[in-house]
């Protein structure tokens, strides 16, 4: 008998949704000591499946049919009080957002002790809490137990969550995207931790993720979900290397390869278009009325060279200063030191007015497709706005906007519609069109694909690659994802704590990294050992 057997699970969406059921006819089994990855894009119903198993569905969502048998008992038919006694004791769950998953007013030790206490094991708390914190490799467990969550980093909080989930040695752990909000190096540590504990205790793990790299790293078996259904299920090696369902194949084909060598090197000119030297930006955090302020260096002595037609990737983890650096170049942030030479002119000391001509030459594509368009302006206005500001007649600018829409593969009708009528990928195309309307020489792309699903990500990357060839664009490409950088960048610069620690041709940096941090980053890329099979004849554009 399996530890967990889900059969025919159907959860209805409230009326008015895009489909009648969130998940439909789900069949899953999970054995003790096994890791099952449930993988799919946003909206595929993978989290819903996890929540239904814990009976923690949001109000308004109801299980329509099916059963979830755990240890032979159907969880869906248990009285609420009995289900509560199972939660935390026999079934445990960890979540995606470690920053909000802990009660901000309660010491973390108390929160772990609470898990013990509500299941009648409170007497052991004083001894068990430090033990548990130690088991998840947190330094100085006693001090951590006394801390409030806001004092801990995201990775530390996720470890606390894991310690709490494992407090009563549950038979089943459900992990809902537990590493998505974390940096790659932290992700690697958490994945290793989960794997280790699971093997030591023989826990069954249902691991929800959108990332095939993570799947390759951790899964024993895989279930692929699409629009509320499981389309393919099987042992990890089989699903990853010999996917059968067309959707699985398309998804795997869209995974950025992360192998720069596979791509022929592009020829670029040696003409320097942008040169940064000694750029420094420090943030001052105010200390209130009488408190002392704190200086936080965001970018320290950054040197960079960008040649015409080239794409330079700036990679690093959150807080490394890569976005601040990009914002310094485009004067969204004013650096206090250094030179930013663009075509021979130092942009740093220029006034707002003196900057105006350069606004046409340097443009930017933003990260969040939902926040980067003014919700109250039509798409046409958004694209034409820049040229109109710079004196282009309205009619000309609107005509140009229509052309640009077709360039980014959107229909001309999009002109008069509002941003909320478009999907994330479409909005990102609108953002690209808005930047291109200025006919820039240099395009700064700040994490342009990291908010997108993997299949959409592949399309937008393909679009950017195509445009840079056609328009001869020079690009400064900011990303945290090394696989994406490998896909599109000619050269990369690696940033850590505000400093550029290594830069060079992508292939060279990835193949033989010199700096230890670069090595650590590359080692942390999930699914390093897995080479995705090349898919043939699958048209990704249709799946959006």
């Amino acid at each position: 008998m399996s530890l967990l057997e889900v059969s025919g699970l159907t959860v209805a969406l409230p009326p008015g949704g895009d489909r009648p059921n969130a998940v439909e006819g789900i069949d899953l089994t999970l054995d003790a000591g096994e890791i099952l990855c449930v993988v799919g894009e946003s909206g595929s119903g993978k989290s819903m499946t996890a929540n239904a198993t814990m009976r923690l569905l949001a109000p308004g969502l109801a299980v329509r049919s099916g059963s979830i048998r755990f240890d032979g008992r159907d969880l869906l038919r248990l009285p609420e009080e009995e289900m509560r006694r199972l939660r935390g004791a026999r079934l445990a769950m960890i979540f995606q957002e470690p920053m909000t998953a802990l009660n901000p007013l309660m010491r973390v030790g108390d929160q772990i002790a609470e898990a013990l206490r509500v299941h009648g094991a409170g007497n052991d708390a004083a001894r068990r809490v430090p033990e548990l914190l130690e088991a998840v490799n947190l330094p100085d467990p006693r001090a951590i137990a006394r801390s409030h969550p806001f004092r801990l980093s995201g990775g530390q909080r996720q470890r606390v969550m894991i310690a709490m989930a494992l407090a009563l040695e549950p038979a089943l752990l459900i992990a809902d995207e537990p590493t998505t909000a974390l940096d790659v190096t932290t992700q690697k540590q958490i994945l290793t931790l989960i794997r280790e504990i699971q093997q030591r205790r023989g826990t069954g793990v249902m691991f929800i993720t959108h990332d095939f790299g993570v799947v390759a790293e951790i899964a024993d078996r895989v279930a692929v979900m699409q629009r509320g259904r499981i389309v393919e299920q099987g042992p990890a090696a089989q699903v990853l290397n010999r996917p059968e369902h067309p959707y699985t194949r398309a998804l795997i084909a869209a995974v950025p390869q992360g192998h720069a060598a596979a791509r022929p090197a592009r020829s670029v000119s040696t003409e320097t278009i942008l040169q940064l030297s000694g750029v420094r930006k420090t943030y001052h955090r105010a200390g209130g009325w009488f408190g002392k302020g704190v200086a936080v260096p965001a970018v320290a002595d950054a040197d960079l060279v960008l040649h015409r037609g080239e794409t330079l990737g700036v990679v690093g983890e959150s807080g490394s200063g890569k976005s601040t650096l990009a914002r310094c170049v485009i004067r969204l942030v004013t650096p206090e030191q250094g030179e930013i030479l663009f075509g021979g002119t130092d942009l740093r000391p220029l006034s707002r007015n003196a900057w105006m001509p350069y606004r046409r030459q340097i443009q930017m594509v933003f990260q969040d497709p939902f926040a980067s368009l003014n919700p109250r302006r039509t798409v046409g206005e958004a694209i034409a706005e820049g040229p109109i500001t710079h004196g282009v007649p309205r009619d000309t600018a609107l005509a140009k906007a229509r052309e640009l829409l077709s360039l980014v593969q959107l229909p001309p009708e999009a002109m008069n519609r509002y941003p909320h009528e478009f999907s994330g990928g479409q909005r990102q195309r609108i953002g690209i069109a808005r930047a291109l309307a200025m006919e820039p020489q240099l395009l700064i792309a700040d994490e342009p694909v990291s908010a997108l699903d993997v299949s959409v990500q592949a399309q937008v990357l393909a679009l950017l690659t195509d445009l840079r060839e056609r328009l001869g664009l020079t690009m400064l490409f900011i990303t945290h994802d090394l696989r994406v950088a490998a896909e599109i960048c000619d050269r990369v610069a690696v940033m850590q704590r505000g400093r550029i620690v290594e830069q060079g041709p992508t292939e060279q940096v990835f193949r033989s990294p010199r700096h230890p941090y670069t090595k650590a980053l590359l080692d942390s890329v999930p699914g390093r050992g897995w080479v995705p099979p090349v898919a043939h004849g699958i048209d990704l554009a249709k799946s959006e």
Binding site: D368, A371, L373, P375
Partner: protein, 280 residues
């Protein structure tokens, strides 16, 4: 726009509030037609209970028609409510926009100033201002505006601060738009919903404040107001309950209407919140 109306109409309370509000506005506009002559003039015998002597709501100690007083009082309440809210919005939006958009020392200075005004007991300050500058409709409006702008500043500042760092505002900056153009076309339109909701609630509070001031004898001596009616009925409440009860009901219904409309606007302008609330 029609989607907005549909969402507004779905809230039954809001519709009731809107109807009530239209009735009060109608009463204020048509007071001279409904009750020709001054509301200060004697219309019948003193202390007539409601319904007698042709007086729908009775008469006061000087034989003045309470119903006429209420109709004319609506004028003062609405004028004071609307104008003082407009003035407070003007001050609050301007300060909040500067603080939220510029940040830095300007933000610091403006927020200290706002905090200071929030510390002062506002009703006491309003009394003091009206008393010192002698009661008149102008001094009442100024006093109410002076004590009601701080919440506007706070709301507008918070909105501006969050919108200022939104990527579409940064995109506008990158396109080279002038700061004033960014504020007017990108930030302000997106900050309007909470301001509109706040305005309806502030009008309600202003009407309450005006009635409180005139209850204390600080109303414009030339204009009939609801607070004055209740104030003059206070000492004879054992004798003539109707003198206090009906004007109070008028205040209650008007303020309630504005609050209901405010909630309806809030629901209609923030459909997201509404959905979340309904999910519980």
């Amino acid at each position: 726009m029609s989607a907005f109306l549909r969402r507004f109409a779905r809230n039954r309370g809001a519709v009731v509030g809107a109807v009530l509000l239209v009735l009060v506005i109608g009463m204020a506009l048509f007071a001279p037609l409904l009750f020709p002559g001054s509301p200060w003039d004697m219309a019948g015998a003193p202390f007539q209970p409601p319904g007698e002597d042709g007086m729908l709501l009775g008469t006061d100690s000087l034989g003045r028609d309470v119903a006429a007083g209420i109709a004319y009082g609506a004028q003062v309440s609405l004028i004071v409510g609307a104008v003082s809210t407009a003035v407070a919005l003007l001050i609050g939006v301007a300060l909040g926009a500067v603080a939220g958009y510029l940040g830095g020392w300007a933000d610091d200075a403006i927020m200290r100033f706002t905090e200071f005004f929030q510390t002062i007991p506002s009703f006491v300050l309003a009394i003091l201002l009206v008393a010192i500058f002698t009661p008149s409709i102008a001094s009442i409006i100024v006093a109410i505006a002076v004590v009601s702008w701080p919440p506007v500043t706070r709301v507008v500042r918070a909105e501006f601060l969050s919108l200022r760092n939104r990527e579409f505002v940064q995109a506008a900056e990158v396109l080279g738009k002038r700061p004033l153009a960014i504020v007017l076309t990108d930030i302000l339109p997106n900050a309007l919903s909470p301001i509109i909701v706040l305005a309806s609630l502030m009008t309600a509070t202003a009407i309450l404040l005006e009635s409180s001031l005139s209850f204390l004898g600080l109303g414009d001596p030339n204009m009939m107001s609801w607070g004055f009616l209740i104030g003059s009925g206070r000492s004879v409440i054992r004798l003539a309950w109707w003198m206090s009860v009906f004007p109070g009901l008028a205040i209650f219904l008007t303020v309630l209407a504005l609050n209901l409309v405010g909630e309806g606007l809030s629901d209609a302008l923030n459909p997201r919140l509404r959905k979340r609330g309904a999910a519980h």
